[in-house]
């Protein structure tokens, strides 16, 4: 395990529900200090904040009840970079087909459960030339689709009839789960977007040590 911290900047992971440890695990793998964000004070001094996969209705409820929504919006206005994976992307989208948007901060439209249920979850590999030189393994779990991107939004990964990854100057969205694969490409990409310098001591973005149970080592009960 590489534990060198490449940069003093700290990356937050919203810690209300969902794939929190998995993101913290990947951050540690690229030598970036990660911090679980559970209360407003945890947002202070962050270089970026990851809103993980989980259930977006649950995350939305908890963000509202405990006042984190307004705090995240305030930090965003002061320049905080945000990355939403899956449910996180739904929360950040300006438009949510058939439903009210939540943060509404990036000019995209998402369609929830656009592939269907769990039997339609899948993984594939695709090249995202703006993110990494090698194909990236992508895990879609009850994923949404990005069905529209605004003029200020750059498409990072386009599929047949939808967009799977996009960004504007301050926000990255991915409808898949890089934290559930050995690929560190998107975590490195977001760290650089936040002005951090992720460690890179191999030619590949894939961590050879990764296993599906990697997150256990960092779990609260391990």
């Amino acid at each position: 395990m590489r534990l060198t911290i490449a940069d003093a900047g700290v990356m937050g992971v919203l810690d209300l529900q969902g794939g929190v440890q998995e993101h913290l695990d990947h951050l540690q793998r690229i030598g970036i200090a990660g911090r679980p964000v559970k209360r407003a004070t945890d947002l202070d001094g962050l270089a970026g904040l990851i809103i993980p996969g989980g259930e977006s209705t649950c995350l939305a409820r908890l963000l509202d009840i405990f006042g984190l929504r307004a705090e995240i919006e305030a930090h965003y206005r002061q320049g905080l970079k945000l990355w939403g994976t899956c449910a996180g992307a739904i929360l950040l989208a300006r438009e949510n087909v058939g439903e009210a948007p939540f943060f509404g901060l990036i000019d995209i439209a998402v369609s929830r459960n656009a592939f269907g249920g769990q039997l339609d979850s899948f993984n594939i590999e695709k090249l995202a030339p703006l993110v990494a030189r090698e194909p990236i393994p992508l895990t879609f779990i009850r994923a949404p689709k990005i069905v529209r991107t605004g003029p200020d939004v750059r498409v990072l990964l386009s599929m047949e009839d939808y967009v799977a990854a996009a960004e504007d100057d301050q926000i990255l969205v991915t409808v898949f789960h890089p934290e559930l694969t050995p690929s560190l490409a998107f975590h490195r990409y977001f760290a650089r977007k936040c002005g951090l310098c992720p460690a890179r001591d191999a030619a590949t973005d894939r961590d050879a040590d990764w296993t599906p149970q990697s997150w256990f080592r960092f779990g609260p009960h391990a």
């Binding site: 969902g18 794939g19 249920g117 009850r142 559930l180």
Partner: protein, 293 residues
């Protein structure tokens, strides 16, 4: 089932971590659960407390009911099949729900065999009272485990017993020399290869939720502090005096399980929890946790 499919199924369970899965018996309850922040609903005809009261044979729910609930929410929908009833499971898979609970709360259809879950594409969650039971279910293809607890009682004591038992057995396994693992596995009914994996991982190789008797925000936080990854609430919400508040309170307490002030906040102004049952004085044949082999 392809290896890749099994991994996707364990990963859906990972995305439910830190969340609350609620039993619901109709569309209205499903929407209340989703609105309160449930991460999934368990579609049932009767909550366990009513299954207890009614007696008789408890079977898979009416597919029309499950379908209506599935169409009314965006969160994942789970439903129960009887232990060993692989055709109920086939029907639930054909219904394209998100997870099957092969559950001791329903009357077992087979008193020797559980469902061979490796034949299915759809993920399964199964109940366990101890490490052996958990690992046998995983060997059969379960992608997620939950404590059995004692469903429909509003009494958390059995869920605590099951979680403590699993934690103790995992600790024993982790600290024993490898040559002792064979006899430990034999004496406790652990599949050997999985026993070695648990020894290496220092926990179950899949997500493990608490279930069976959780009735209050404090119960939920207790199970989370004991090391569960999330919470199933059966009768505890819709048998309470104020289901909307109880649902939200248990979601809050689960997310902030380590923060007593937040758990207190969740516990205020709640009304009455569901009535509880004493399990010690309950005849053995009324206990559901003993079902499963």
């Amino acid at each position: 089932m392809a290896e890749n499919r099994y991994l996707l199924n364990t990963q859906l369970a990972q995305m439910l971590k830190g969340g609350v899965i609620m039993d619901v018996v109709n569309v209205e309850q499903a929407q209340i659960a989703q609105e309160a922040g449930a991460v999934a609903v368990m579609a049932l005809e009767r909550v366990p407390a009513d299954i207890r009261k009614h007696g008789g044979v408890a079977r898979m729910s009416d597919p029309d009911l499950i379908k209506a609930i599935k169409e009314s929410v965006t969160i994942p929908v789970m439903a129960k099949a009887r232990i060993g009833h692989f055709v109920e499971a086939q029907i639930l898979q054909a219904l394209k729900i998100d997870y099957i609970d092969e559950s001791e709360v329903l009357t077992p259809a087979d008193e020797e065999c559980h469902i061979d879950k490796t034949c299915f594409e759809i993920p399964f969650v199964c109940g366990a009272r101890n490490l052996g039971e958990a690992l046998r279910r995983i060997a059969e293809g379960a992608a997620m485990i939950r404590t059995k607890g004692e469903a429909g009682t509003g009494n958390v004591v059995e869920a605590v017993r099951h979680m403590r038992t699993m934690n103790r057995e995992i600790r024993q396994l982790v600290h024993m020399p490898v040559e002792e693992v064979v006899s430990f596995a034999k004496n406790n009914g652990l599949p050997y290869e999985l026993a070695l994996e648990v020894k290496k991982l220092n926990r179950l190789p899949v997500v493990n939720f608490a279930a069976g008797g959780i009735a209050t925000p404090a119960d939920a936080a207790l199970m989370m502090q004991l090391g569960c990854d999330g919470i199933f609430v059966g009768s505890g919400i819709f048998k309470s005096s104020d289901p909307v508040r109880h649902a939200l309170a248990i979601v809050k307490a689960t997310a902030y399980f380590n923060d007593p002030e937040k758990v207190l906040e969740a516990s205020l102004d709640l009304g009455d929890a569901m009535p509880g049952l004493d399990i010690a004085s309950m005849p053995a044949e009324e206990r559901l946790a003993g079902r499963g082999w």
